[in-house]
Amino acid sequence: MKKLKRHVRLLKMFFSFRLSNRMIYRASFWTAVFVDVSLFLIQLAVFSVLFYDVDSINGWNKYQMVFFVGTFTIIDGLDMFLYFFGVIGIPAKIREGKLDIYLTKPVNTLFWLTFENMDIGSLFTCIPGIIMVVTASVMLGIRITLRRVLGYILLLLMMIALLYNLMLIIRCLAFFFIKTGALDELEGELIGFSFRVPGIVFRGVAKFVVYVLLPYALLATIPAQFFTDSLSGGMWLLVIGVAAAFTLLAQWVWRLGLKHYGSASS
């Protein structure tokens, strides 16, 4: 409990430090907002073009699609706010030996690296996401119940954690290889695609790949599927299993990487 309180206190400190830092460089603060909004608009444009004259995809109608895009926008906003900029900075710190200073501090290294670069501006991205989710719910005539809302929030949190673990695993490869830029590109492809296309389009081997091995297709599909349709017990088990497996894998890769870390010579 004491440990948890300490970490919450640290989180508050990171947040206030970043907030004051971002407010000094106001241009950067608003640039982040513009970047997020531009990304959202482009994804929306692609989505509109793709589904311009298609009424439904594998049983999902237009408003379920809108709900799906809204959900992804919320996940994207929250991950950029919480850990995105912290995690993407890890490879450079490994390469340049800057990890030393983090390792010598009496704070969990990964916790510090993850949350030190919270981006407050990214929270604004969640606003269009929430608007889309609410609008789609109204248009679909969904009966809002406490169970549905709590289940959606729980799945959203699980997917944010899953995305974190996927990002971390890729960044930890910098412990073993000098340059990992192509992996970032690969990840960008998968995330970009899972933003545009719901996981329900996949079947057979393809579904196994994007639901289990590279579970990017779960990210927005599962919360949207739960809220607008239904999620079977089997799917709940799959999602929990995949999220747990990737948490363990990320922790293992991180520890293995730390053992391999040789300071500036990495």
Partner: protein
Amino acid sequence: MGKYLETGKVSMKAQITYRFDVGVGSIIPFIRVFLAYALWKVLFAAKTEIGGMSFEMMMTYHLVASFLTRLDQSVNMVWDMAEEIREGRFSKYMVRPISPLGHFLAESLAKTLYILLVTLATVAFLAVVMRRILVPPSSLANLAGACLMGFMGLVFLSLLNYLTALLAFKFNDITGWHIMKNNAVDFLAGALVPLSLLPAWIQDVMRFFPFYYVYYYPASLYLGLKTEQFVTGLIVMALWIVLLWGLSVIVYHRFRRIYEGVGN
């Protein structure tokens, strides 16, 4: 010319050092085509043609477009150059008897050449595996035209990325600009979806801008579509390349005056 060739050679050698990165990069076309297949298979379930293309043409389009996207290596060089400017390490280019623009282009094209060799193998493999759902080039002349347009597109993107990196002289952090520009280019150049899916009047406007000819047009030409636009395309691209070249020279000479060379 010799010094730029030397720059290119050094850049290629450096690429060989990063074998893991290059190896991972070479599987990106696999991922793109796999994802495109899953998506278009569903969208084509109830249709035989979308945006003037059959399913086979759509898959071929994505393979060609993803190959061309992979060839642009200047996009990643922006980060390095911006960091060098920010940290005061760019001074070395100012004292060397070599133009920074020439250095950037030589490095970018050498990296592209190396990636071309590696990625060509991946694409050839994909073409064999997926031969039933891919279409061959419509004619040798169209293939040559597509290659020429693709090359001009790469030169244009290199110049655009050089200009973006130059912004680091003026603005401390160009991350946001660069990401926004990349997102816009991916969409406008047809890397995400073929531009033929857009309304006709938008396509007509886009024909006067260079992005239309970067990925979308070479892929269309390969498929034997829009061949009548080839000459216009060449002229438009040549004009934009000259314009961006001139702009790069002017911007560099203007911005180098405000460079302090001490870093931050």
